[in-house]
Amino acid sequence: MTPPTATTPEELASATAARSSNLSEALQAWWVGVRAGQLGNLPIIVGLLAITVIFTSLNERFLSSVNFVNLVVQVAPLAVIAMGVTFVLIIAEVDLSVGYLSGVAMVVLGRLLGEQAWPTWAAIVAVLVIGAIAGFVQGWLVAKVGLPSLIVTLAGLVGFNGLVLILIGGRGTVVIQDQVIIDITNRYLPALVGYALVVVAALAYGAVKLARRRRRAASGLGTDPVNLVVLRVVGLVVVGAGAVYFASLSRGMPLVAVLLIVLLAGLTVLLFRTGIGRHLFAVGGNPEAARRAGIGLVRTRITAFMISGTMAAMGGIVFASRLRSVDTGAGGGQIELNAIAAAVIGGTSLFGGRGTISAALLGAFVIMGVDNGMGLLGLSSGFKFVVTAIVLLAAVLVDSVARRGQKRSGLA
């Protein structure tokens, strides 16, 4: 690769913002961006690889297919919740209530399915609606009444914890017996179905990219080189098929992996391809500019909290599926802090205006990867927490250094 020549802020900015006409130019532009501090998901992928290498060298079972399948199932609830929290972080607020809100969702789900004998779909819808309402109320208190989100959702954390205990009451545990719910994390895709889904997803992605390319060309705008699109599709197929193959060496890909991919794609579209997503970023980046542009600040902020609440409830459903029973500890274990940590490790800013869904997913893999690896080594929770803390600090440090680089290069 030829060394990048761009040095002044203007050159850097144009080099990274303009579309490259061919593959090598695209690679070069990407490298210029990385050097200027536009790291994207690079640090977290490097981090994941480092975690894999370190834990595998300490205990080779870490990189076994059995453990990989376990890890996917362990990551799922946290990843779902972290994706939701990302929306609140983007508008420069925080949501500490998601952990116990997911606990409330678990208990309600268990009781609706068990004692009330509701049909599965109705119970799922009811739980998601409860999450949305909880988000609405908290969002309303923050956006309309003007209370700090830290306090409102801290009250939510304490209150929902109480609600879990009240709803469990004298039952001790609520057992989940609904097969559909259990299947979410306990049913595995046959390898062939897995490959087929990977190919379909990659082709759909490619089709979307090519359609966009055609529209851009029709509007006389610069386009990504075709072979870059092809490269991405092939890359998706290789990574996806590799994961399916690896999982199939043991039980296979759990059903919940499909849910994660669907959420990743759907929420990414919501965040980056719709007006709502654009407004969330604007409100997080410069609320005054958003207000003057006629964006409803209250409505936008409440939307973020509702998405967070709904996703917390969905995370609770996945949790219930994994645990198969709900007890008084439901929603505990610092889920909310882990969810925020996951998003931040992935590069979502606590100061608002910046964040991606993929960051939340990858960040959840880092958090649970450390947890899982330390567990395999037989280390206590104390060590897990300390190592997680170090990983979190390291991630934020890398991000802050990269950010400084971007500032210097005039990119942020």
Binding site: S14, A17, G220, A282, N286, A412
Partner: protein, 265 residues
């Protein structure tokens, strides 16, 4: 127009007319009510009393959206751009174009933004997909102006557009302001810098302590006279005393006959 913030009477009986193709400068000391006046026109702090006419029609502006629908755009002193968004995203903020599935139509927006910026031809922007965070002061000002003129706007209000700029960038922005007037827009330029004002303005309106104390033809007066109006212009009423006191003002609330008021507030 009148505007009160609690006990503070920020604007009192101000009458202002803007006409197509004319650059009007709004000057006054700090606290004279310049910002309040333009925020009222923009619908951010609607007026308490008074009428607004647009193209001869009485209109009511209750929010930024109402103003935008009429074709009134403001370029703010602090620019009101979101640093974390790129140029296109900022220019279409709050007015994103979407297809029938609610998805953003980036191609149209990027095309239009690029064309607008090319049309202004002031600053060299390497790409409209650059984040605003990476732009210089002059480039940001251009983006803000581009955002204002892109919407077939009829009235463009610029709040201190050159306040934070260097010599060369100020030059570019003033050229841009003059060009907006030539293109038939009604331009209201709020500025502290009388040098800038005399360079581009056709008419100079002076505010003092929330009242209009001068409506001057820029070619007929000199800087000294404008400074006098800013610091010692005759008030129709003394703010600390009875509100109904009258005096020999340079301009009162009566209409300006013989003009087709574009924005008549």
């Amino acid at each position: 127009m009148s505007k009160r913030f609690g006990a503070v009477q920020a604007l009192q009986g101000v009458d202002l007319a803007l006409r197509p193709g004319e650059v009007v400068a709004l000057v006054g000391d700090n606290g004279a009510g310049k910002s309040t006046l333009i925020k009222g026109i923009a619908g951010i702090h609607p007026f308490d009393e008074g009428e607004t006419h647009f193209d001869g029609q009485a209109v009511a502006i209750h929010g930024p959206h109402d103003a935008a629908v009429l074709g009134i755009e403001i370029v703010y002193q602090d620019l009101a751009l979101a640093d974390n968004l790129d140029v296109v995203e900022n220019m279409f903020l709050g007015r994103e174009r979407t297809n029938r599935f609610g998805l953003l139509v980036e191609e149209d927006m990027e095309r239009e933004a690029a064309d607008t910026m090319t049309g202004l031809a002031v600053t060299t922007l390497s790409s409209v997909r650059q984040k605003v965070a990476g732009l210089s002061g002059g480039q940001r000002q251009t983006v803000a102006v581009g955002k204002a003129v892109m919407w077939n706007s009829k009235v463009v209000i610029l709040d201190e557009p050159t306040a934070a700029l260097g010599v060369a960038q100020t030059r570019q922005v003033l050229d841009l302001v003059a060009r907006l007037g030539e293109q038939g827009l009604a331009v209201l330029l709020v500025s502290h810098n009388l040098h800038d004002v005399f360079e581009v303005a056709d008419r100079i309106v002076v505010l003092r302590l929330g009242q209009l104390v001068g409506d001057l033809d820029a070619s007929q007066v000199n800087q000294q006279q404008v400074v006098e109006a800013i610091t010692a212009g005759t008030l129709t009423s003394v703010p600390d005393m009875a509100l109904h006191a009258t005096g020999p003002g340079l301009d009162s609330d009566d209409d300006d006959p013989g003009t087709s008021g574009e924005e008549h507030a």
